[in-house]
Amino acid sequence: MGAEGLAFRAPFAFVTFLVLNQLAPGQDMLHTLMQQALNALQQGSIYALIALGYCLVYGVLLLINFAHGDIFMVGAYVAFFIASMAMGKYGLLPAGIPKWAVLAATVPLTMLLTSGVGVLIERVAYRPLRLKGANRLYVVITALMMGIILEYGNLSILGANRLSFPSLMPRMIFEPFGARITITELSAIVTCFAVFALLQWIVTKTKLGMAMQAVSYDKFAVPLMGIPLDAVIVFTFFLGSSLAGLAGLLYALNFPVLDPFMGAMVGWKAFVAAVVGGIGDIRGAFVGGFLMAFLEVAVVAASDYVPFIKPEMRDLVSFSALLIILTIKPTGIFGKPKTTKI
C-alpha cells in the first residue's frame, strides 16, 4: 500500500486500535474516541495551515522559510489590532459594530497586511542574497534571524504583557455523536480543507501555479520562457504569508492568548510536518499536518491502553515515529525520489 494510504489510514488505524484494546467498548468509550479524533482533526488543521505556507515557499524557492512561524505570529497580532479597532477600542471606529461584520472585515485585512510583511521580508532579506547567488543555506539562516527579529521586535514594541484575543464568534458548541466541538474549531477545520482545495487548484490548474512549478523546476530557464521570475516569487510569498495570517487568526480564535513566541514551537512542528509529508507537495503538507496531530493525540489517548507508553512520552514517541517514517521513506510521504541522471 502506498505511503499516502498509510498517512490517510493512520487516524482510523489508531481509532480501531483503541477500540480493540478496550475490552468492553461502552458508549463513553466511543464518545471519547470520537472526541479525540475531533481534537486531532482540529489541531491538525492548524498545523496543516502553517505547513502549507512552508510548503508553498519551499516548492518554489527550495527555501525553508524559518520565519514563517513568526509571520504566523504577526498574523495573529495584526488580526488582534484590526479586530479591536473594529470593535471601537481605539476610538477610530464607533463601537457596536456587529461581530460577524468585524470578523468579515478582519479576515481579508489580516491576510492582506500579513502577506505584506512576508513580501517585505522577501524583498529586503532574501532577494538580495538570491541575486548574489549565495548558498541557499545562508538564506535559510537569514530566515531564522528574521524570525528572531520579529519575535523580539514585537516584544520590545508591545512589551511583555500577553494579549487576550476578543471572541469574534458566539460560543456555540455542536455535539456530533456525543463529542463536542466549538464553532471556532469547526471553522478552523473547514477553512483548512477549503484552503487546501484552493491551493491544489491554483498550483495545478492556473497559469500562475504552472509558473510556480516551473520556477521550482528550473530557476534559470524560467526567465527565458518569458515568465517574470520575481513576480512569481512575490506572488508565492504573498500567498504563503496570507495563509500564515489566516492561520494566525484562526489560531487566535481558538487559543485567544497571544504572546510574541507563540509562533516558534507550532512553526517548528508545522515545518516538520511539511517535510514528513514530502515538502514542496501541497498534499504532503496537508497530510503531514494531520499526521503530526493524530500522532500526538494518539500517544496521549493510547497511553491508558498500551503498556510502556506514558502520556509524558508524547513528543518522544511522535518524533520517533516521524524519524522512522523519514528513514523508511527518505523523501517523505508524497515527495518523489530525485532520480540523479549520470
Binding site: 548558498n135 539562516i141 520590545s156 506514558k310 518524533f319 520517533s320 524519524l323 523519514l326 527518505p330
Partner: protein, 338 residues
Amino acid sequence: MGTRITVPAALCALLAILVAMTQKDILGQYGVTFLCSMGIYVILSASLNLVNGYMGEFSCGHAGFMAVGAYASSIAGVFLFVPDKVFGHPWLPMSMSIVAFPFILAIGFAAAALAGLVVAIPSFKTRGDYLAVITLAAGYIVKSAIENIEAVGGPRGFMGMSKVVQGMDTIAELPWMLIWIFLSVTFTIWILRRFVYSTYGKGIMAIHQDEIAAEIMSVNTNKMKLIAFMLSSGLAGLAGGLYAYLISFVNPSSFTILRSTECLVMVYLGGMGSLTGSVLSAVAFTIMLEFLKPLEQLKWVVIPLVLILLMQFRPEGIMGNRELSDVFPKLKRFYRFK
C-alpha cells in the same frame, strides 16, 4: 624543525599567561567563566562545521548531542565522586577527580558519538532537508527522553558536579575549568584540522561536492558519513560535558532548539568549511551576547540584524571556505600547513 613546536609553544605560553592572570586576580571568575563559555561555543561551532560546512548537510540537532554528552559526563562524575541517592556512594576519593576528569569527558564524547548514530544511519539514504528534519527530531527526542528519566531528575535537572571540580582544587587552587576547556578547544581544533586536511578526511568534502562521483571514485560514502556525524556529535558531547561542569547543573531546558540555532548561526557566519571561521564567529558571537546585554530585549533585534547585514555583504560568511593560512600565507612559515 622549528615549525613543529611554534604552535604548541604559543599555546602553552597563552595558557600560562591566562592562569597567571587568574592567580594575580587580573582575570576574575567572571572573566574566566566568560572565556569558558566562549571556548564551549568554539567547540560547538567547529564540530558542527564538520557536518554542516565540510559535508554540506543541514544538521539542526546539535544541542541534542550536547545534552547527551552533558548528562553522560555528569552522571559519570557524580557516580564516581559524589554520594547520590540514585547512584550510591562515591567510588573514588575526591583527590582522584583531576585524574579521572579526562575519562569523564571521554565518556560524554563516547555517549554523544553513539547518539550520533541516530542521525548517521538515516543519512545513508535520507539527505538534504529531510535529513535536517531527522536531526531536528533527534534533538527533540533527546530532550523529551531526558525529561522522562526520573533518575537524572527529569525536568528538575541534575547536579553535584561542582564537587568534582572542588576535588581538583584540593590538589591546587587553579582555574581548572578554564584549563580543561582550553585543552579541549585545542584538542577539538587539532583533531578537526588533522582530519579535514588528510586525504582521508577530504572524502567528506568530495561527498559535499558530488556524492555520486565520490562513491564511484572509491570513497566509502556511508563510512565517511558515519565518521563525520559521530565525530561531530562526539565533540558536541565534549562541549556538553564541559558545560555541565562549568555550570555544575544540567537540565533539559538548556538544550532546546534555540541552542542548536546558535550553533547553526555560528557555523554559517564563520563560513562553511572553515575552522578559522568557526572560531572567529564563535568568539564574535559570545562577545556580542555578553556585551549587548544592556540593550535588554533589543539585543535580540540587534544581533540578528548584524548577522543579516553581514550575510548581505559576505554571502559566504566571514571566511568563506578559507583558513587563516590562506589569508595570511606568511603564517605558513610559523606552523605546518596541512
